[in-house]
């Protein structure tokens, strides 16, 4: 019983941790990606990141763009800031319509 409770607590803690990371990533995308792509992600110096704008691009190439940047453009590599999993999560959410900051 105690063991089960410990697992439950552990799972909760993990979920809380994931929620926190997601909140950080939402903020990062809205605020810091937003400084080029616009806070609403409708574009600025950088291209729009709305589902309509990204529609036909494969997710793995978008993840690669986030991680490695695009040479010759102003898009920097973010791999020193976020993990591959973070980038995958961001791209998935971008393709669905990115969540607002809470």
């Amino acid at each position: 019983m105690k063991y089960a409770a410990a697992i439950a607590v552990g799972t909760l803690a993990l979920a809380a941790h994931a929620g926190e990371r997601e909140a950080e990533l939402i903020r990062l995308v809205r605020q810091d990606c937003g400084s080029c792509h616009g806070m609403t992600l409708k574009g600025g110096l950088g291209l729009p990141l709305t589902p309509e704008a990204l529609g036909d691009k494969p997710a793995d190439s978008l993840v690669s763009t986030v991680m490695n940047g695009r040479p010759g453009t102003a898009m920097p590599p973010w791999k020193t800031i976020i993990s591959e999993q973070d980038a995958e999560w961001i791209v998935k959410r971008l393709l669905e319509g990115f969540p607002e900051e809470k």
């Binding site: 605020q31 806070m39 409708k42 574009g43 110096l45 010759g72 102003a74 590599p77 800031i81």
Partner: protein
Amino acid sequence: MMRWFTLLAASLLAGCVQMQSVRGTGDLGVVIERANGRVAVVETTGKTVLGRIEGLGDLSHASVVFSRDGRYAYVFGRDGGLTKVDLLTATIAKRVMQAGNSIGGAISQDGRLVVAQNYQPGGIKVFDAASLELLSEVPAAYGTEGKHSKVVGLADLTGNRFAYALFDAGQIWVTDLSDPRNPKTEKFAAGNQPYDGLVTPDGRHYLAGLFGEDGIALLDTWRPQDGARKILGGYGRGQEKLPVFKMPHLRGWAMAGGNAYLPAIGSHEVLVVDARNWQGVHRIPVKGQPVFVMARPDGRQVWVNFAFPDNGWVQVIDTVAGKVVQTLEPGKAILHMEFTPRGEAVWLSARDDNKVVVYDTATFKPLTTLPMQAPSGIFFTTRAARTGF
């Protein structure tokens, strides 16, 4: 009875506005609360918020210029909204949607024209400063395929001329609006991907920072026949460029002792340039990639904030010593700085701490903190009287 009624109506109206007594505007300003589409009207003498104005749309990357009487703030929103805000009544005097995606604007030498610089559709638009009526526009068309460039670095010059740079076309354009309905534009090759521009305080030299290559494009607007030339080419040569998570801003013109202080791009340095011959003098190492490099009005200090992930720091360069003399941590995500008219204090916006912090520039001690929702740009009315602001 009628007169009494009118009087009552008038006083009721007066009750609606937030500032009731007669006052000047020399110590007023606005703070962009970007998440809420709101601006706060502030005064720098008592360091207080006088009122808030809602409904200005998407204010990410919003910028502001002031009418020459210092009463109205023209707020350029990212969504193309241009709002004329009355600082004395804290109300919207006029508002138009002028583009799909905008990056800022400028006001003419005579104060009659407000010009917006747009990403989408790429170009500039000219408005009557009183009515916000559209007078003319200059599409930033380039090449042979009818492409339009994003416009950056718009700055006012003397004679109701405006200089700006075309990010995608690699050009500097100077548009003469002495006849505002018939713009006349001269074009100059600038270099690869100009990302922002500024004009020197005398209105003579226009500089456009280049992202796509080393160096800065310089146009002497008193000698346009010479064209734009590149300065500081190869100044950072041999160094590997760091990833740029945020473009530097060249708005905060910093000049002291005949030298100009400019943010390096892709390195942790402030560039010092001799403004007489535009040669590099030295480079000052700083804590991160600079975004704003701004001189205190007397030029003795230069304050620097940084791009993500170093945006919690602010450093102060003493221009006599030629090095950093203070490193401050005013809050999370310091996006902008603005000096009071004579520079005894500086206001700093800490976006992720939802506050503006005011520092004493002599003691480097915080004087007060004002709660704000995700503050970004801070703009004081002293800009009304300065070329390039």
